[in-house]
Each structure stands twice: as C-alpha cells, then as structure tokens.
C-alpha cells in the first residue's frame, strides 16, 4: 500500500535530495558525483508515474506506457535476454507466451478481479528473471514458460487496470503490446552477445543489474 501511495503522487520525487546527501556523508563528495547520482535518481524516479491509476488514450500513449516504467522495462528486457540465453525454441517461445498471458492478466485487471501484490509481483519479476540470466539458469522449457507467464499476469494486470475506454482503447493496447514486444526484442538482440565469452559475461552482468533494480523497486528505494 505504501509503495502504491508513492507511485500515485504526481509530484517530483524527492530522491535527488537523498542523492545529494549521500556523497558528502561517505566522503566521496564533489559536485559532479552529486549531480550524477541526482540525475540517476531523478531518471529512476520517473517510473513512479507508471501506474497512477489514471487512463490515457492513443497509440503513442500506449507505446510510451511500459517504456516509462523501468520496472516494466527491465523485466521485459530480462525476458528477451533469458530467451536468447536459452536459445531456440525459448528465444521465440518466451516472447510469444508473454504478451498472450499478459493479455489474460489484463483481462483480470479490466474485470476488476482482485490480484494481491501487483507491484511486488512486477518487481519480483525483474529480480527472478534477472537472476535467471545472471546465474545462467537453464531449466526445462516448460518451467521457463510457466515462470515468464506467471509474471506476465502481474504486468498485464497493471496495464489492464489503466486501459482507457472508448475508441482509443485499441490503439492504446496495440501500442503497449508492441512496446512490450520491442523491449523483448531489445533483450534478445543484446542476449545474442552470449555467443561470445565476453558477451556472455556482459549478458550475465546485465541480468545481475536487472535483479538489483528489481530489489531497489521491491525495497521501495526508487
């Protein structure tokens, strides 16, 4: 509930202030570092507007909807990364499973079926999927599909709650489904680097970074 309340507050996030105090207290002070940390925190704070409960219409709004929520972005990229890491058929099966199950989650949101801990589920998806990539986990395909599908429910639910009424609904939903798919493709493209030893390290590092971002969201640090 606390995190939800934070996300619905349409005011600038106070995180940059935290960023200003931290460098001086740790002895790493300096204007540049302070500005850097403040900028990072400010950038990370924008997704607080991702699930405001408000609705908007149009293709571009739909396209922008997942993109302006880093918790969504990292989870989507992780799906692509993991798919690329696992290789065929996971490389195409996971990005196909995700939007379809996400739509099922969206239907639950539209119908108002209560689903507990949606934001926790979204943050957890980044942690678990990021860890799968970081640890180079290779479970059976059906396990990967079930895992990705289970998290897709939470992402879809959040989107479904905010789907606008009226003629724009089609354009909005098409926009955010395409944006989700493009984020998967981004993950796949980056994940293909895993063919080379150095690239494999980079991909696993990206997975670890995604998991850390998920932890930050889960802990309410961003």
């Amino acid at each position: 509930m606390r995190r939800r309340a934070i996300r619905t507050t349409p005011t600038p996030n106070p995180s940059p202030a935290k960023g200003r105090s931290r460098p001086s207290s740790t002895g790493y002070g300096g204007g540049e570092l302070t500005a850097f940390v403040a900028t990072i925190l400010l950038l990370l704070s924008t997704p607080a507007f991702a699930h405001t409960g408000e609705t908007a219409g149009g293709f571009l709004s739909g396209l922008a909807h997942p993109v302006f929520g880093p918790d969504h972005v990292v989870a989507m990229v992780a799906v692509g990364l993991w798919g690329a890491f696992l290789g065929p058929p996971a490389i195409w099966l996971l990005p196909i499973v995700f939007p379809l199950v996400m739509a099922a989650g969206g239907v639950l949101g539209i119908l108002g079926v209560p689903l507990p801990a949606v934001e926790t589920g979204i943050a957890s998806s980044a942690i678990v999927l990021g860890l799968m990539v970081a640890l180079a986990a290779r479970p059976p395909l059906w396990v990967a599909a079930v895992l990705v599908g289970a998290f897709a429910i939470f992402h879809g639910y959040a989107h479904g709650k905010e789907l606008p009424d009226g003629a724009n609904a089609v354009a909005f939903s098409a926009g955010f489904v395409i944006a989700t798919g493009l984020l998967h493709l981004t993950g796949i493209a980056f994940g293909l680097l895993a063919r080379w030893p150095a690239g494999r390290l980079a991909v696993r590092g990206a997975g670890a970074a995604i998991a850390l971002i998920g932890v930050a969201y889960l802990g309410g640090y961003v």
Binding site: I96, L100, L111, H159, A167, A169, V170, A171, A174
Partner: protein, 168 residues
C-alpha cells in the same frame, strides 16, 4: 473523389487494421502461392457488408465481431496450425463483411455513399493483399517466427480490447 478518400481514410482505424492484418497473416502463413480464394472471399464479404449497410442495418455488433475475428485469426497464426482452406475462406468473408458494417458511410447522396464504401474496400483489399504477400514470402525460420510474434501481439491487443468492451 472526396467521399472516396473519406471512405479510404475510414479504413485506417486500429480495430480494422488489427482484424485485416491478422487475416492477412493467417491467409498468407501457409499459402504456397498467393491465396486468391481468400482474397476473393474477402472482396465478396466487403460487397455483402456494403449491401447490408445499404439495407439500413446500422445497429450491429460488427465492432465486437472484428475483434473476435482478429483474436481467432491471430491465435491461429501463433499456433501455426495447418487449417482447411474453407476456414480461411469463411474468416475472410466474415472479416470483409464486418468492415463496412463497422464503418457505415455518412454521406448524403447515394453516389457519395457508394464512393465512400469503394474507398474503404480499396484500402482494405490493398492492405490485406500486402500482408498476405509478406506472410507468404516469410519462408525463412526467423521470418516465420516474426509472423507468429506479430500474431501474438495482435491477439493480445484484441483480447484486451474485447474484454474492455464486454466489461464496461
């Protein structure tokens, strides 16, 4: 000419595009050569739909029908099953007939109304034929996967909007 262009532009709304692109992918996915029969059924459907509009059938569930057809066609694209040509023909006809019903002309004269319907039909046939050709030529493995991914996007979008329309 203005009425014709108006009808042409009336085609380019998201629900029409979802249904027509899904149909094009579905008809072209397994076709060895251009699916003339499917395109023919689609054109006959457009004529039938226009005649129904002319018969003053204004209140109809065409919007929901288009979304259901989009879900069905896109789901079949994702599954990539071999289906009978009859099913392709029936879905082509159904999609074709739902389009004019969902976009009745708002012209005052009959000539303008016919021109508007012709514009809608030209745009719909051009787009469905283009998508059919693209899906038919997608023969490499990654291209076929791309077709299925596009199908999953269309199915997901249509399912969401269908739920929204039915729920609210």
């Amino acid at each position: 000419m203005t009425a014709f262009l108006g009808g042409l532009m009336q085609f380019f709304i998201p629900s029409h595009l979802l249904a027509v692109v899904a149909l094009g992918l579905f008809a072209g996915q397994h076709a060895q050569r251009f699916p003339h029969a499917a395109l023919g059924a689609f054109a006959i459907g457009l004529i039938a739909g226009s005649l129904m509009v002319a018969s003053a059938i204004r209140q109809n569930p065409a919007a929901l029908g288009l979304l259901m057809l989009a879900v069905a066609a896109a789901s079949l694209v994702v599954l990539a099953w071999d289906v009978s040509n009859w099913l392709v023909g029936v879905m082509s006809f159904a999609t074709g007939s739902a389009l004019p019903l969902n976009a009745p002309p708002h012209e005052i004269t009959i000539a303008n109304a016919v021109a508007a319907q012709a514009g809608l039909a030209v745009a719909a046939i051009a787009i469905v034929a283009l998508v059919m050709v693209i899906a038919m030529r997608a023969t490499r493995p990654w291209q076929r996967i791309g077709v299925r991914i596009a199908g999953s996007w269309i199915a997901a979008s249509a399912i969401l909007v269908l739920a929204l329309r039915l729920a609210r």
